[in-house]
């Protein structure tokens, strides 16, 4: 057996939170990365996966992070933890390099990309002038930047997110490192771009014979590219093994749950199994119980939108005005108790449609018929009684609840505004009922939002909508910011509520698998236009439009690829 290139042994890291409290981010983590191998470090937020990668490079904040004396990180025969500051600095960017989640903020905005690449070459290879220029262009070409000779002088903001990440990769491989650490390199990117970057990393890994430590929260992403998988949770390693083993025959309940709680396009169980289900041993049974979706002409219509358009304006030139068409001629019918999925990449206009439908934006054109009236033509006052019947759950659970209100106040405010309930006692009774409906303990009523996790906050936001007994609920990327296991729980909750109250959903997401799971009909949007709009099963089975096909091809397939 060959010796590992990187060997992390019993890594413990503690963070000092304030004078008294500390937090153990890593509780003794051990794993190896062999030469020429891709290892995926998988875990949800708070699992310690990013701390691990920063510890390897010696980039933990020195003010408050402490690495335990018994820990070892052996790389190429040296213990990285015992190296001097300058020794480890010389390794960084040369033998070990790293790419990060947000390419935009990870590149220095005031230097050209060429300058930033040449900086590495100068630092480690002492390459300057023409030689450096040539090498930098070659690198940009290698990572697939078109017309590299010209773009070498671009500033980061002049490039798209995908290109920025390619530049980061070019910078990382400039010195032919032995190990590339990729920390969530595709999370901030659209699904089609994600696929390109994943392919690029895999290709470069093969070509240069590097090792890659790939850090991600999404197991599905690593199926294609990783040789081995390490699953982490709360600073511990839950399971590690070859990708095949872990995917085909997971041993740990947590791994099992991670693998199956993420919706996939080819199966639609009635409810998604979560960790508790695996612990209780009922997950297998759940997987078999399928749900059928789709709409019939006879289903009653709650909302009909015709020719919705929304323009935004910006200044241009001396007197000019530039118009940006965020949504163009969008029409659809939403049926009672059904879900309309709205899918597209960033900038496709899907969120604009959602916000315009409920008049958080004013529509530039179009009509929205609800309960026999065109709600777009109403004055603010006329609209008020209809307002409560169309509600929205936003993406960021940390921003959508007023931090200065208790949960009780948050839930009772809409009731006060819309005169729901007789008095305070009646309202608080209803609030308690709703809390238990969304699966939160009663005492949550007295707490503030900052005391809850992301998933719990999303439940509170859902409960707030339910206080007004809406007909339509718009879910604007409502589960996108959540970890997969929490996402499954919230999706199950939304399903249960739809079953119970006959709610109609407009479900907006960039995640095709989630949209497929939730929707009866799906609209695919691109550049403000609807490119395809059909029953979800039909659309996923046989996409008609090229763009839809491209989107579907980009979905990470796990091991099935």
């Amino acid at each position: 057996m060959t010796t590992p290139l990187l060997s992390v042994k019993n890594l413990r890291v503690t963070f000092r939170i304030d004078r008294k409290n500390t937090f153990e981010a890593l509780k003794g983590v051990s794993f190896d990365v062999m030469p020429n191998e891709t290892v995926a470090l998988v875990g949800e937020s708070g699992s310690g996966k990013s701390v691990t990668s920063l510890a390897i490079l010696g980039l933990l904040p020195k003010e408050n992070a402490k690495v335990d004396a018994g820990s070892r990180i052996d790389f190429d025969g040296k213990n990285l933890l015992s190296l001097s500051k300058s020794e480890i600095r010389e390794l960084r960017g040369d033998k070990i390099s790293m790419i990060f989640q947000e390419p935009m903020s990870s590149l220095n905005p005031v230097f050209t990309v060429g300058y930033q690449i040449k900086e590495v070459l100068k630092e480690h290879k002492n390459l300057t002038g023409d030689a450096a220029q040539k090498r930098a262009i070659a690198l940009l070409k290698e990572v697939g930047i078109p017309s590299a000779e010209e773009r070498i002088d671009y500033y980061p903001h002049q490039m798209s997110g995908g290109q920025q990440q390619r530049v980061m990769i070019a910078m990382a491989i400039a010195c032919e490192p032995k190990l590339l650490i990729a920390d969530e390199p595709t999370t901030a990117l659209d699904v089609t771009i994600q696929k390109q970057i994943l392919d690029l990393i895999a290709e470069i890994q093969k070509k240069h014979g590097m090792s890659v430590l790939f850090i991600t929260h999404d197991l599905a992403v690593v199926g294609d590219i990783a040789d081995r998988v390490v699953v982490m949770r709360s600073g511990d390693i839950k399971e590690q093994g070859t990708t095949k083993e872990v995917f085909a025959n997971p041993k740990d309940d947590y791994t099992k749950a991670l693998l199956s709680c993420r919706p996939v396009v080819d199966s639609r169980p009635k409810r998604l199994p979560v960790i508790e289900d695996f612990m209780a041993g009922r997950a297998e049974a759940m997987r078999l119980e399928q749900r059928s979706r789709g709409v019939k002409e006879s289903d009653p219509i709650v909302l009909e939108v015709k020719g919705l358009a929304k323009d935004f304006y910006s200044r241009d030139g001396l007197f000019g005005k530039k118009t940006f068409h965020a949504a163009k001629d969008v029409s659809f019918k939403l049926r009672r108790g059904k879900t309309l999925g709205l899918v597209g990449e960033s900038g496709s206009g899907k969120t604009t449609v959602g916000l315009t439908v409920m008049r958080l934006h004013d529509a530039t054109h179009g009509e929205a018929w609800f309960d026999g009236k065109n709600i777009f033509a109403m004055s603010e006052k006329e609209f008020l009684p209809y307002k409560k019947r169309i509600q929205i759950v936003f993406q960021n659970p940390y921003a959508s609840l007023n931090p200065r209100f208790t949960v009780g106040q948050i839930l009772m405010e809409p009731m006060i505004i819309h005169n729901i309930g007789k008095d305070g006692a009646d309202r608080s009774k209803m609030a308690f009922e709703l809390l238990s409906k969304v699966g939160l303990p009663e005492m949550s009523f007295y707490k503030y939002p900052h005391e809850f996790s992301g998933g719990q906050r999303q439940r509170i936001a859902i409960a707030r909508c339910l206080t007004m007994k809406p007909d339509i609920l718009i879910c604007d990327e409502s589960v996108s910011a959540l970890d997969v296991s929490v996402q499954a729980q919230v999706l199950n909750l939304l399903q249960d509520l739809q079953d119970e109250f006959g709610l109609s959903y407009i479900f907006i997401s960039h995640d095709l698998a989630v949209v497929k799971y939730m929707s009866d009909e799906v609209m695919v949007m691109s550049n403000g236009e609807v490119v395809e709009h059909r029953d979800s099963d039909a659309l996923y089975a046989a996409p008609q439009h090229d763009y839809t096909r491209k989107l579907l091809d980009s979905i990470p397939k796990g091991l099935h690829a």
Partner: protein, 391 residues
Amino acid sequence: MNTAVMNPSIGIERSPGLWSLAWKRLIADKIAVISLAIVILFLSLALASFVGLIAKGWNNEVGVNYAPPTWFKGSAPTEDLSKKQAVNPTGPSLDTGLAKPEFVNDRDPLRETVNELKQQLGQSAGANSVDEIKIVDPLADVIAELKKKLGRVGDEGEKETESTRLQTLAFGADKWGRSVFDKVVKGSETSITVGFAAAIVATLIGTFLGALAGYYGGKVDDALNWFYSIFNSIPYILLVLAIAAVLNKKGILTVVLILGLTGWASIFRVVRAEYIKHKARDYVRAANAIGASHSRRMFVHIFPNISHVVLVQLSLYVVIFIKSEVILSYLGFGVGVDTVSWGSMLNEAQNELILGYWWQLGAATLFMAILVTAFSLFTDALRDALDPKLK
């Protein structure tokens, strides 16, 4: 604990809100606690002086002219001087003392410079009081001046001058023998009153306009921004001086109005930016979605979330305005002669320093530095406590 009683069925304590969490962080910070204690001490000093518990007689001549601080008694030249003053009250006026070689001959080589300097400095210090007749009986002059200024009954002042005056005082005495300690306490009252009152005026105006501009945007924002840019384009001190020139009226109220009405621009900018940021936040959109009115979104939803910014700005203002008041009063555009300010003390002290009487300068500087330092440190701690992410 109350809440546990209020909700016995649940039996949990009400969770701490963000304010109480911030308060906990604040009192965990030693510097914050100490500076808060000092600020409170100053506030009670000002209050006590306001209701007349202390420093009531700041205008009485309780000591000999330029009585040194008690602990400084041993020092030779000043003691000499004060004794002479006490024995011979009809001695040469100290106002013109610079010109009298017998008192300053140790500095003879520099006398010309001193004179020159004095003339220069005298411009605002009332140099026109230099008068031959007054030199003969400086105290009569001083008393007359005071009487004129204060409209005080004549014999009362008379009595005080006749009564035995103290040779030394805790913080020394000024030109007329008034206690520097009483003056500096009274000065604290003035500074704190002006600082807080003007800060509140500026904060109210700036916050209200900033909230309107930031929340509504569009035409409202354009109009208010235009108004703001006018105030912003004139350097603050220039605007203050211009208004002082026009009003040509002294007094605490005038200073408060000048500072408050000109100073609102910086908080306007900050609050406007906060409102622009917050109105796009999901929680405000959610409030819109549930049907909350504009005023409800503006004041019930957004305001509590930016109130920490307002609070920090308010305390920054207190510091700025205290410093501005000192400068205004120094220049003679501030509070009137019927009250005392650290600024007017510095003005007097500047002449005294050349004569070697440094205690009025020292006391005013010390008090001001302690208050302003404590207040600034408290502001920093407040900001950290309210917004832990910043640190």
